[in-house]
Subunit: 208 residues, 2 copies
């Protein structure tokens, strides 16, 4: 009996895996299609069947990061439409950033390939953003006199900016200059979440 | 008559200037004391009179960035103790980030030398943070039930995180995936500033 045929390798997915591994071990600037081919033991030309350039494979790596990030958020945030659920979304975002620093940096802290030229990457990024946008659309947001239409998109940028700032500042060396303990960082995160609620939630009342 | 003696060169300051120029033209990872000496036309050993290592000169560069950043904020933020003044501080911060991207990245987006070993850098960073901290201390902040003591430090981290998130996200490629126009970015910034006021200012009322 001849051996069962081995599972065909999906060259495209294997290239994306190797590209991520190269970025992880050598840094973003060392990514090349030639090195991807070498590590997979295929011809120099093989990756070009799927990726026209280094930017194309990088865009595919980043697109997969967005897709996995969105799955993580969907798995870890309750679907209920409440400010508690928005709070949980904030904590899930910060946990993701802490647990996946490279993926986080690729998505939100790197020079990305031009989204107009890499539609799959752009669509995955927009889908991830829509999770926050849709959450806010379902909540009754506090208004102030200077707030015009298109509320949720701008408020999504406010919430995202606060979370991104927390994720990057509290993990960078700069907060070491303030000698913040881990416990203080946790309090600062809770404070920021409370401030987001005070900013957005018409039901949140300041203390008397 | 012999010529007037030329102004003595301050080698330490000249080294810091050259170190910044190297980072600007070649990138942070290319900074070396050897290259600083070569560009100044002094002996390999000369910079070591002032800087024990590459980390020491990098810390001096970052310390100067913090000092100049603090001067910029002091020059551009009214001293009045009001939420309008906090708003002006936020806009000044975002302007600084846009006008000085390299300095901004060195202070807030890089792996810094260990602050415990570089006291001057740490003190300049703490002074810059104190400008925001002191501003908040002079304002009557809205309280909520879950907010314990040490209000201003944690609220300073909330405000700073939001500003840092805006500064980095709106200038990075990631918001290109959302195809935000310059006009929309300006609206998003104003919205975030309004949300900060709603979060902090007991006088800010939501619309009826």
């Amino acid at each position: 009996m001849s051996p069962a045929p081995s599972k065909p390798v999906d060259l495209k997915q294997a290239c994306i895996d190797e590209a991520f591994a190269i970025i992880q071990s050598k840094g973003l600037e060392k990514l090349s299609l030639r090195d991807v081919a070498r590590r997979l033991g295929v011809s120099h030309q093989a990756p070009y069947k799927h990726f026209a350039s280094r930017d194309h494979i990088l865009a595919a790596v980043v697109a997969r990061c967005y897709a996995e990030f969105a799955l993580y958020m969907e798995a870890n945030v309750p679907e209920t439409d409440s400010f508690e659920s928005l709070h949980a979304m904030g904590l899930a975002y910060l946990n993701y950033a802490r647990e996946h620093p490279l993926e986080y940096r690729l998505m939100f802290g790197s020079v990305l390939p031009d989204p107009e030229l890499h539609e799959e990457m752009m669509q995955q990024a927009q889908y991830a953003f829509s999770l926050l946008h849709n959450k806010l659309e379902k909540l009754p947001l506090k208004h102030a006199a200077d707030m015009a239409t298109d509320l949720e998109k701008h408020d999504a940028i406010f919430v995202w900016s606060t979370l991104h700032g927390l994720a990057t500042l509290l993990q960078s060396g700069v907060t070491d200059t303030l000698t913040l303990s881990q416990a203080e960082k946790a309090v600062a995160i809770e404070r920021a979440m409370s401030r987001i609620s005070l900013a957005l939630d018409p039901e949140t009342r300041g203390a008397p």
